[in-house]
Subunit: 338 residues, 2 copies
DNA sequence: TTGTAAGCGTTATCAA
DNA sequence: TTGATAACGCTTACAA
C-alpha cells in the first residue's frame, strides 16, 4: 500500500511515483518535486520484495565457496564484489563446509528464484542427471565456474581459472631443477578437481623428467593445516623420505613446514617446500614460502562478468578462460641435500 | 502462472496445490498424490520471489563482517550457519572492506525488505540521527552485534561478545608477570571499537601495575599484516625498544613476529609477542603464538539466535551477552630479557 | 477437505 | 507527461 500513500500525498498516480523512482527523467520537474517531498515526508522505502517479484529478478548472486575464512578468497571476493556493485547485484554466500555439496541444491536457488545466478568457486558433485538433461532448460541455469577445474558434466558452463596442471608442472620442474628427485606431494580433498589437477601436473612433470613417483609420496592433506601435518608426518616417517614436498595449496604448505621444523629438520636445508595460491601468510612464513600465485582478484572479476553475461543471455563462447599463473620463489626451497 | 499449471494438470485448485506445499497434512492423501504427480511432471519449483513477497519475509540475514578471508571468521560463521540452517535463513554477506561503513546503508536493507535482519560483526559508523531517532521505528531494525564492542548509539541493540577490556588486561598482566615493563601495543584501525577496548584493557593493566606507558609504545597496525610490520619497525627503532608487544589481533601479531625476526632478533628471547583471537595460524607460527582465544563458534551461534528472536519480536532483555575468553600460553612469550 | 477469490506492492501497457 | 489498470505467483479467509 505504500506507493499508494506516497501517490495520494503527492496528489499523483502510483504510476508516476514508480516512474519517479525508476526513470525520473520521464517525470516533469514540478511533479518530481511533489513526489520527492511526499517520499521524504512518509519516509517511504520501496519494497524490494514486491519489486523483485514484479521484475522476476532477485538481483542476488550465490557465490559457492569452500570456506569463509580462507585467506585466498579475500582477493577473489574483492574482484567479485567490484563487479557485483557495478552491476547492482548483492552477494549471497554459501560455504560448502557448512552446506551441502549437491549441484542441484544450488541450481534450485536459481530455479526457485532465490537468486539470479551462481558463481561456483568450489568443487561440488553434479547430479548424474545433469549430464543427461543437458538440453533441458533446467540444466542451464546461469552459472560460472571460477578457480575450480571443471568436471565433464559441468564442461558446458563458462569457467575462469589458471591452468592448474601447467602451474603444478612449473612448480615441480623448479624443484627438479634444484636437484630434487624424491619429491612428495600433499594432495587436497578427494573431491577437489582443482587439487587433482595440481597432482596431475606434478605427476606429469615427474614423468617428463623420468623420475619415479612412489605411491607413498602422495598423501592426502585434506586441505587443512592439521591434515597437512598428519600427511607430512607420514612423509617424514618414510624410510627414504622426500627431499622436497609440493603442497596442493599454501594452507597445507604452512602446516607441512611447521611439522618439518617440529621434527627437528630445517626448511629448505633438509626439505624444500612449495605451495600454491600465494596467500598473504606465505610471505611472512618462516622461511617465506615459495609458491605459485594466481591472479585472484582478476579471476573473481572476470568470472563475475561472465556470470552477468550468462544472466542476461549475452554470453558468448563457453571456452574456459585461462589466466596466467606465476611461480614466486622465496626461501622455502633450495638445492637438494647431499 | 506456474502454480496454476500444476493445479490444472492435477485437476485441483491452486489453493490445494499451495496447501500441499505448505501444510500437506491438510490435504487428503488421494489429492496429495495427484498434486505430487503433477509437480513431478511439470518440474515445478515454487517461485520464492512471489512467496517472499506474499509473506512479507525474505528469509535472508545480512551478516556484515570486516573481510571475507579473515581466518577468525571461520568458526564464527560456522556457528551462524548452524542456526541459520535450523531456522530457515540464508546468509547474505557484506564485507566492510569492499562496501560502505554507514549504518544506514545496512539498515536500509531491512527497511526495503531485502533482508529480515542484520548481524553486525564489524564496527561501522552509525548516523548521528540514529541516536536521536531512538524511539522512531526506523531506529529499531532487527539487529544484533556480534564480537564487536558497542558504541553508545548502538547500545540499545543486543550484543554478544567477550569482554575485550578484561581479556586484554589478562594478556597484559601475563606479560607483566613475566617481568616485562616496557610493553608496546599494536592497535587496530581507529574506528574499530573492539580493538579500542583491547587497548583500554592494556592501558588499564599497565596503570594498575604502576607501569608507565609511553605514547611511542602504542602504534597503529591497521589490522593488517603489512600495517603491523610497519608498526613493529617503528617500535624496534625506538631508543628504548619494548621487551614485549601486545597486538590487538593475531593477524598483526604474525606480522610483528616476522618483522622482529627480520631485524635479527629472537622471539621471545629479545621480544615477547602476544596476540588475540587464536586463529588457526597462531599455533603453527614460529614460535607458536601466545594469544587470547574467544569462543568464536558460540559467539556466532548465540548472536544468530538473538537475531532470530529480534526478528520475531521475542527478544527479551538487551543486556550485552558476555562470553568467557581464554589466555593460551604458547612459545612467543617469555621472561623479560636482562 | 476443497474451491473461490481477494489481495500483497510494484511495474508496465495503453490510452488520454 | 500523466493516469487507470492489469498482471506478476502465491497465500489465505471464507464459503461450499
Amino acid at each position: 500500500m505504500s506507493i499508494k500513500k506516497v501517490a495520494k500525498l503527492a496528489g499523483v498516480s502510483t504510476a508516476t511515483v514508480s516512474r519517479y523512482l525508476n526513470s525520473p527523467e520521464q517525470v516533469k520537474e514540478k511533479t518530481r518535486n511533489k513526489v520527492q517531498a511526499a517520499i521524504r515526508e512518509t519516509g517511504y522505502a520501496p519494497n524490494s520484495l514486491a519489486r523483485n517479484f514484479r521484475r522476476g529478478k532477485t538481483s542476488l548472486i550465490v557465490v559457492v565457496l569452500p570456506a569463509v575464512g580462507d585467506p585466498f578468497l579475500d582477493k577473489v571476493m574483492r574482484g567479485i564484489w567490484r563487479v557485483a556493485d557495478e552491476q547492482g547485484y548483492s552477494i549471497l554466500i554459501r560455504d560448502t563446509q557448512a552446506n551441502s555439496h549437491e549441484f542441484d541444491e544450488y541450481t534450485d536457488l536459481v530455479f526457485s528464484k532465490q537468486a539470479d545466478g551462481i558463481l561456483l568457486l568450489a568443487s561440488i558433485s553434479p547430479f548424474d542427471e545433469a549430464a543427461s538433461n543437458r538440453d533441458n532448460e533446467r540444466a542451464h541455469p546461469p552459472l560460472v565456474l571460477g578457480l575450480e577445474s571443471v568436471s565433464a558434466e559441468l564442461s558446458h558452463f563458462p569457467s575462469v581459472r589458471v591452468d592448474n596442471i601447467a602451474a603444478a608442472m612449473d612448480g615441480t620442474d623448479y624443484l627438479i631443477q634444484l636437484g630434487h628427485q624424491r619429491i612428495g606431494f600433499i594432495a587436497g580433498k578427494r573431491d577437489s578437481l582443482l587439487t587433482k589437477d595440481r597432482e596431475k601436473g606434478y605427476r606429469k612433470a615427474m614423468r617428463q623428467a623420468k623420475l619415479a613417483v612412489s605411491n607413498d609420496w602422495i598423501v592426502e592433506g585434506e586441505q587443512t593445516i592439521d591434515g597437512a601435518r598428519r600427511a607430512t608426518r607420514r612423509l617424514l616417517d618414510l624410510e627414504q623420505r622426500p627431499t622436497a614436498i609440493f603442497c596442493a595449496n599454501d594452507e597445507m604448505a604452512l602446516g607441512a613446514m611447521h611439522e618439518i621444523k617440529n621434527a627437528g629438520l630445517k626448511v629448505p636445508r633438509d626439505i624444500s617446500v612449495i605451495g600454491f595460491d600465494d596467500i598473504r601468510y606465505a610471505e611472512i612464513a618462516d622461511p617465506p614460502l615459495t609458491t605459485i600465485s594466481q591472479p585472484a582478484e582478476e579471476i573473481g572479476e572476470r568470472s563475475m562478468r561472465r556470470l552477468c553475461q550468462a544472466i542476461d543471455g549475452s554470453d558468448g563462447d563457453s571456452a574456459p578462460e585461462m589466466l596466467p599463473h606465476n611461480l614466486i620463489v622465496r626461501k622455502s626451497t633450495g638445492k637438494a641435500p647431499g
